[in-house]
Symmetry: D2
Subunit: 266 residues, 4 copies
């Protein structure tokens, strides 16, 4: 990708509910979050992981690299700091930058055997009980094979990128972002042997909720939510959409990990 | 306590919404769950742990022993099986039975510095996020000392009896029922070092929810629920109420534990 | 046991310290475990996971399928039961059987910058402290990048096959056998944030032990052990050797998992 | 360092293998670690948790308060910093200091039904497998009741004080020091339901090792070790000995906890 003086760049921040194009993109300087300008060549996102997640989903399917700047400190995803913004921007303009690609997942709700909703997510799809409910009761199948009936607060299906988010808090492992995998992490399972399960990302994960049970909820990236109906099925697969991040100038994945999790230094 | 032919017994089952007195107690054969007959000398509860928990709270404060019969199998609490019911009943009538006492906890909601609700629980008081919310942010203090700010799905304060229920699923330890203790178990804490904490049951545990935050919910024994308002405080202390269970004829605590958790046999 | 004329079969059992060729393979009926007969077309292993692990390492590098029969019950690896032995053998003789391939790892000890020992393993390579020592202090690097300094009882590097063995007991996730991955699971880490890490199997994992520290030990598949010298380095990579198992007639991976871990049935 | 005439003080440091009495105690200025001077009124320990643990065991049974100074930073036990040493010493000389008492445990090895060794510990008694062994197989009984057969790397029986040491790394809970309890924490148990168990400190915990099994090792406070013989029994009870620590001037237990575990601040 070769950048030029007339580079089309848009910027998203956490505090404003709109895109701000830093130069003429398609005749306008501001866009609703959902209405991504056409012909975009770079998206600069200023904010925390939450802002970045919503930008990622908006871009999904378009091969526009994201330059993520974390204003609050070091994030798992947004590892370019405020100080590094300008040097990295110059790298991008010169075409000297590296990008890393991250997979996303698609979660589809099947209602009475018909697709009802479909959304993609960078981190995770989470099935959850209601706040005052006691527990969910659901079946998990992978590629048509029954894996188990779970009695739990819920279940997380996370990408490698999402493995350091909610899944980690629920007891899941850390998954290197280049691994073609999902991790299925139950939330507070009643059965103590229901441990996190790492499977190929070519898998089709199906969650089936029993009739007459407590209502279940589905959340994507902790940002988009749906209440499920009894007998609904949720199907999770790898998304065709991927996202490209402009790589930070110096830190490797393990350095970010070590720093974020406060692992010991040499 | 000496039993006699005219023993006043009531019975509660999981499927009927009322008490059924097996013989004349105070001139009536059926009672609303909340309206416990007076002069009761024994309560027989047929059902699972859920039925037993609601019976326990209804009795709280009265020293009426509970004879719990688990129709479905072996429960942590209800360890008298269907087959053992009559032999144990005869023991009770002869005054040859043993009882074991279990502590309960009180949870009080403080709204604008005023007590708003107070409930007791045998197992646990649980503060929880809403189904579609991302996380709760709250402070925990014990006896007026700040313990920590938690970012988590919620927090469980459990009695020893409750330590084998929800708290266990959330990663808590098993606490022997004679220990004078609470366990504070965070649910999916963001901070991986937020580990379960076992404290004396003389402690006063306070949860404070930040203003402007996601709504939090409080559940007692997974059965009674409240939505908390911003700035509400929840205070948990040992209850004056205790509950007495008629002991099963043979099993010790460790035998029940080993059986329920399917630990290896000798 | 009658085999088709021409099929070269050897058999290994857990109780005998030798191979027993069930028909003339290379002119002899018994072999030392290390001396595998040439021209072998099938290896039948009767025993538990331990016997199978040693057979696997002996075969490493040769493409001889293993028909594993678990005499004691269902194993993670050896899922053909005693009853299924003859039907499966007939499938093999008819060439109607399926096989599944499992990756292995190589662990190499580097002593004063020179390769000193190299062994392959099907399940795991484990670095461990001495029984009376307090803790190991070591550095982990992946592909030349420092991952972290660990203070722990030890560290497990497991294949997907080994993820349901020792690594699971140490808190690791379950990894599907077709995933091209290692899992690095610390044993009782002092730092609570040192969580299991799943990485591509193309990674080169290096463990460096500090000078003057407690002695460390390296174990392969829990069967072959070495005492490490101070300043030794252990390097773990994917092995060129793979192992092929004759697939059991009916059970899928998830069915074996559900059965072994006693997950709930539908 | 000037002490009030008459106060008998000894000092222990981590680097010297002897006691150094800062003034005439019983006619001598230096003592072997095991030979504690008589008539001692205060023991000052300079060092880390390891030095303090050995001082504690040497003192066991004598009611001499320990003033522990952590030269390296904040320790769980030794919370008086270098800067606080003199102010706290002055409080001690004036009799204005507070002390906190901590329970200890006794571990006894029974060899062929006869007591063979007995040691006390402030933190924990740990049964452990040999470095190259696969697993230990042992039975745990409490007060004569069989709790379970464990297949694990080992088992930790910890005091509340020890709950933040090795037991925490093995997955155990944090136990408040005033709670009259032990925690039994298995190390990498094969059975995933073998969870930490908190029991009254009046309990008698017995570990029985199977005949013909791998050798087991017993360690007290990570400092004193024994190799067990087959069929040996280890019995753990509360010690009559207690230890008294001079309280640090400001920090509460929860503050030390929050700081050591890096929990979030308000």
């Amino acid at each position: 990708m070769i950048f030029r003086p007339g580079l089309s760049v848009a910027m998203l921040t956490g505090t404003t509910p709109c895109w701000v194009a830093t130069q003429a993109v398609s005749g306008n300087g501001a866009f609703a979050r959902g209405a991504l300008p056409e012909g975009l060549e770079l998206l600069v996102v200023l904010g925390g992981d939450g802002t970045l997640l919503s930008a990622t989903r908006a871009l999904a399917g378009q091969r526009v690299p994201i330059l993520a700047v974390n204003l609050g400190g070091l994030g798992f995803l947004t590892s370019v700091t405020r100080e590094e913004l300008y040097p990295v921007l110059e790298q991008v303009l010169d075409g000297r930058h590296n990008t890393s690609e991250r997979m996303m997942l698609d979660a589809e709700i099947i209602h009475f055997s018909k697709p009802a909703e479909k959304q993609c997510a960078l981190n995770d799809a989470v099935a959850n009980k209601a706040a005052l409910a006691r527990m969910l009761d659901f079946d998990v199948a992978v590629d048509g094979t029954h894996v188990g009936r779970y009695r739990a607060d819920g279940l997380i299906v996370a990408t490698p990128t999402g493995s350091t988010a909610y899944s980690l808090a629920a007891g899941g492992p850390i998954i290197h972002p280049t691994l073609d995998a999902f991790v299925i992490t139950p939330i507070c399972p009643h059965m103590l042997t229901n441990r996190p399960l790492v499977i190929p990302d070519t898998s089709r994960v199906e969650l089936d909720f029993a009739e007459g049970d407590e209502p279940a909820f589905l959340t994507l990236d902790g940002q988009i939510g749906f209440q499920l109906e009894p007998k609904d099925r949720v199907v999770i697969t790898k998304s065709k959409a991927k996202v490209q991040f402009v790589s930070p100038p110096r830190l490797t994945y393990y350095e970010i990990l070590r720093s974020k999790l406060r692992w010991g230094e040499r």
